[in-house]
Amino acid sequence: MTRLVNRHPDRPTRLLLAMLPFALLIAAYAIGSDMRLAENPNDKLLPSFTALGDAITRMAFTPDKRTGDYLLWVDTVASLTRIAGGVAIATVFGLLVGVSVGLLPYARATLGGFLSAVAMIPPLAILPILFILFGLGELSKFVLVFAGIGPFIARDIAMRVAELPTEQIVKAQTLGASTWQICTRVVLPQMWPRLMDSVRLSLGAAWLFLIAAEAVASQDGLGYRIFLVRRYLAMDVILPYVAWITLLAFSFDWLLRVLQARLFPWFAPEGASR
């Protein structure tokens, strides 16, 4: 019998298997929902699929009476703008600081410990200070997303830089590279694909912080809507919104993975062929 490590499912099996856990989740939901609705037809916690469908139609495909907007799309655009901004700042910061800390002993001595400490501060606990410093507008939302994932990305990249074989850095020096040239030609280019992994890993946290920011002060956005309807336990709206967020984040994750494979053909984990 072939060992499990060596058994590769074929394409259709793979597809089937990939859908299996999702199917199970949906089935579990359906059963739970049916049971609760049988008990209390007005139960709001696990609405039926019809109710979910209605809510989706209402939010996504019916113009709002007041403004004429399609709420889901307005919320999506608002949230995506914010998360893109926050993640972009965090990425740039994480790359710059991570490479410095990973490569330069002086930067490591100065920022290494500080970064580890800062990464542990729960940003939600010091919200009042953040809002005073950055106002209540879009900036504070970027900042919260940034504060949530920036230190993580920086630490992750610093670890990845430290994993580069010393031989490479020495080799570059024998080829005449200055510190700056080592950064730009040897270290940074090798960090791009790793940065993508890092961003992928932090995407979940980024959404979390965005939702938290939108729950405090804003007038649109996916997090705002979830917060707003939460006090009515409108799970028929919340669940599609959560699914939508998950889908968006997952698509972005997938996009990053595809881009990584396309743009950096030289970057394949050692065991990728397995």
Binding site: N40, F131, I132, S218, Y232, L233
Partner: protein, 337 residues
């Protein structure tokens, strides 16, 4: 940013409001140009900023980022006033008349709460309501266990078997009461006039810029006039406010029904000048003092002075940080705006 909001004469102002039945008019007034209209009249700018998180709006006001905020009288005393921000209750919008309630599973009187875990937002008006409810039995908080539960999670919490008693506010009360096996055993209509929803402004700013107060009062009562009317415009306004708070016209009307809205400025002014208010504030500040919320070194409930419309001061006269005034409501009533 902080200190500038409290600087002397200026022309642009910021008001923070949060989503709650009695404060929805601010959002609607801003959306429909009423705020701008009145601001223009007095040659100033007013920015009205919506908060989803009530506490954060008060915090931001206390930290100086805003000139005015919507808050209950209890939170105004406990947060900005204790924090040294001299605040004036510019407008008395309403008092809770059933909006806050103690709800039990398997129980139909206040006695049944004894010995239970009571889920509520600690140190909020819900907490105060519970204390008052227990006081009617001659009992105290020692006879129950208070479990802090965030308002956002209250409904979900009630659905679990762990939770058999909650104190909360609307629209959460209505949602919970719509569930099977939920009985309201005590609510704010049992202590009428003790939970008051205000529009509060920084006293210094107001003193230096009466125009700010006038513009706010003008806006508020024009809006009141529209929304109270039983016309198409009034229904449309209430429907929009309901929508903005996540429900619809019927839901919003139901919330208003358990709120004593002061649509009429004269009525509000009369409430603000009444002696009952002093009794209420005495009870509220005692509650706050008992829970250590008047400052840590506070020797007694007197540390923060409260000035009433008639000029009398309760507590330390040299540290008056909460002022009730009927001046602007009177002006509205007199049509002097």
């Amino acid at each position: 940013a902080a200190p500038s909001a409290q600087a002397a004469e200026k022309t642009s102002f910021k008001l923070a409001w949060s989503i709650y039945v009695g404060w929805m008019p601010w959002g609607w007034a801003a959306d429909n140009g009423i705020v701008d209209k009145w601001a223009d009249k007095y040659g100033i700018d007013i920015e009205v900023v919506q908060f989803n998180d009530y506490i954060e709006s008060i915090n931001q006001y206390t930290a100086g980022a805003f000139d005015g905020v919507t808050a209950t009288q209890m939170d105004t005393l406990g947060i900005p006033s204790v924090g040294g921000v001299d605040s004036t209750a510019l407008l008395i919008g309403d008092f809770s008349n059933g909006n806050d309630a103690l709800i039990l599973k398997d129980g139909d009187s206040v006695e049944d709460v004894l010995g239970r875990d009571v889920h509520l937002v600690e140190l909020s008006v819900s907490h105060y309501l519970l204390a008052r409810a227990l006081a009617t039995l001659g009992k105290s908080e020692r006879d129950v266990t208070v479990v802090n539960t965030s308002d956002a999670d209250m409904i979900a919490a009630y659905q679990t078997d762990d939770v058999t008693a909650v104190v909360t506010w609307n629209p959460l009360v209505a949602e919970i009461l719509s569930m099977p096996n939920a009985t309201k055993v005590f609510d704010s209509s049992d202590i009428p006039g003790e939970i008051i929803d205000l529009t509060v402004v920084n006293s210094e700013t107001l003193a230096d810029n009466p125009a700010f107060g006038k513009a706010l009062a003008g806006t508020w009562y024009e809006t009141m006039g529209i929304m109270m009317s039983d016309t198409e415009a009034g229904r449309a306004a209430r429907a929009a406010m309901g929508k903005a708070s996540g429900t619809d016209l019927a839901g919003y009307d139901m919330q208003i029904a358990s709120t004593k809205m002061f649509f009429d400025p004269a009525e509000a002014a009369a409430f603000g000048a009444s002696e009952d208010l002093k009794t209420t504030m005495e009870s509220v500040r005692t509650f706050l003092f008992d829970h250590g919320l008047l400052g840590d070194g506070a020797p007694s409930a007197d540390v923060v002075g409260i000035e009433f419309a008639d000029g009398t001061v309760m507590g330390d006269e040299s540290n008056v940080n909460l002022r009730f005034t009927t001046r602007y409501m009177d002006m509205a009533a007199d049509g002097a705006l």
